[in-house]
């Protein structure tokens, strides 16, 4: 009897392990292949997301009020600094508007409807973060209903922070650049060097020890310098052109010495996210 129950337990454990691996494999495959999760999962996630807001909104509000009190303490200094910046920005903004208008007119003349730089920004609030150490992932409160689609880039502050990994009707999951899995941070980017040359490449990973994004296998003779700006190139997919990623921090030889490897300082703090913007491209 004892032996039988031991055997049965072993069988149960093995069956559980097999079923678990099967389920994981299926869901990882579906996540990679399909643009939306199965309808039941979507529906469940929507309901859970709605219920979660009951908990998330008060806690996020609480943390917001605490941080606003602490921010109040250095408001005066900040205000002085920002005033200077604002006067500079006004100039840039006016110029930007004029250029945008001109751009529109020129496009109209050329009968070009939407180019790689065109996108609409959908802003969303972060509801919650995945409590897991290897999945740097947040859930935002906009989904397919607001036009969000899988793989769209997500920004916060001034820079790129990640991409949409899963879309439900009213919420979606955003995989951050800091996530080190195989597909989270492969963005096509380009760098314009000081001499005016454009270098294209793909982001290849995130180095947690220094908090820098890496970009590997660059085969160019152009001289890349510290401080060169990295923006998305809009090639190959739903990412629009011209989203700011960060600045070049260091350029070294890659692991095999043939190509160049870049370290990029991200434009925004990737760990403190409250409001994010999804770039919904028009194409």
């Amino acid at each position: 009897m004892q032996k039988f129950s031991l055997n049965r337990r072993l069988v149960i454990i093995i069956v559980c392990v097999i079923v678990s691996f099967a389920l994981m494999t299926v869901s990882v495959t579906m996540r990679n292949k399909k643009s939306t999760p199965p309808l039941i999962q979507q529906f469940g996630n929507d309901i859970v997301g709605l219920v979660d807001r009951v908990v998330a909104i008060p806690t996020n509000g609480l943390s917001g009020s605490v941080s606003s009190v602490s921010e109040l303490l250095n408001t005066y200094q900040e205000n002085q600094q920002l005033k200077k910046q604002v006067s500079e920005l006004a100039q840039t903004k006016v110029r930007d508007q004029t250029l945008a208008k001109e751009n529109k007119q020129l496009k109209k003349e050329m009968q070009l409807n939407a180019s790689l730089t065109d996108y609409t920004a959908v802003s969303a609030a972060v509801i919650t973060r995945t409590p897991s150490s290897w999945q740097s992932q947040v859930v935002i409160n906009k989904g397919a209903a607001a036009g969000v689609k899988k793989n769209m880039p997500v920004m916060s502050g001034s820079g790129l922070i990640g991409r949409v990994a899963e879309v439900n009707k009213t919420n979606s999951k955003v995989e951050l650049i800091t996530d080190n899995n195989d597909s989270s941070n492969r963005f096509a980017v380009q760098i314009t060097t000081k001499s005016g040359k454009t270098v294209n490449g793909v982001l290849s990973g995130y180095k947690a020890t220094t908090g820098q994004i890496t970009m590997d296998n660059i085969t160019t003779k152009a001289k890349l310098a510290k401080g060169d700006k990295v923006v998305t190139s809009g090639l190959g997919g739903v990412t629009p052109k011209g989203l700011y990623v960060g600045t070049v921090a260091k350029a070294t030889g890659s692991d095999y010495g043939l190509a160049t490897k870049l370290y990029i300082t991200p434009a925004t703090d990737l760990s403190a996210l409250n409001i994010v913007t999804v770039a919904v491209s028009k194409q």
């Binding site: 559980c16 079923v19 678990s20 691996f21 099967a22 389920l23 994981m24 494999t25 299926v26 869901s27 990882v28 996540r31 999760p37 999962q41 469940g44 996630n45 859970v48 997301g49 219920v51 979660d52 009951v54 908990v55 998330a56 806690t59 996020n60 609480l62 943390s63 972060v126 509801i127 919650t128 973060r129 995945t130 409590p131 897991s132 150490s133 290897w134 999945q135 740097s136 992932q137 947040v138 859930v139 990994a165 899963e166 999951k173 080190n180 899995n181 195989d182 947690a208 020890t209 908090g211 703090d269 760990s271 403190a272 996210l273």
Partner: protein
């Protein structure tokens, strides 16, 4: 007994509250919890389940369907938080089972509960790490996992156990 008590409705309410608080705590304190080199993962939902087992053993007459609720919480965790089904949905019931076995060997009180919770968190994090390694969700080395994730996570969750043990016991007694 279980059918007639407030626990029948109160237990799942607090279970989901703990589940959502995990995510909210991770979001609000993300700077402190997830900045390199530490990664502290909040497991309040595991705390609620483990405390359920510990206080269920307090008086022997009280049997709760903890395993089933653990599976439900695990399923919601997998679908809503990670998007990869099949990890927590098995680990959470396993933790309940493990805690029940351990509680039958050592009489649960505050200190032995702390010990049991230590083992539970190690199991949750360790199996989670193995599963995510197998699925290539992370590429970190085992030593990095021990130092950067398991250590801080244990510290955080044991602190939560110490802080919340008596409040949770009060809640369970109130619900019974």
């Amino acid at each position: 007994m279980y059918r007639l008590s407030k626990l029948r409705f109160g237990f799942p309410v607090f279970l989901f509250l703990a589940l959502f608080l995990d995510g909210s705590i991770s979001q609000v304190f993300s700077v402190q919890m997830f900045r390199y080199p530490t990664a502290m993962v909040s497991h309040l939902v595991v705390l609620w389940l483990v405390c359920g087992v510990l206080f269920e053993a307090d008086d022997g007459t009280f049997d709760m369907p903890l395993g089933r609720w653990a599976a439900v919480a695990g399923a919601v965790f997998d679908l809503y938080y990670t998007g990869i089904f099949g990890i927590a949905v098995f680990i959470f019931p396993l933790v309940v089972y493990l805690t029940r076995r351990l509680a039958s060997w050592i009489r649960p009180n505050f200190l032995s509960g702390l010990l049991i919770y230590f083992i539970d968190i190690t199991v949750v994090e360790g199996l989670g790490y193995l599963a995510s390694r197998a699925m290539r969700l992370n590429t970190g080395a085992g030593s990095a996992f021990l130092v950067n994730t398991l250590g801080p996570t244990l510290a955080f969750n044991l602190a939560m156990f110490v802080i919340l043990y008596f409040p949770i016991r009060w809640v369970y007694n109130w619900l019974k």
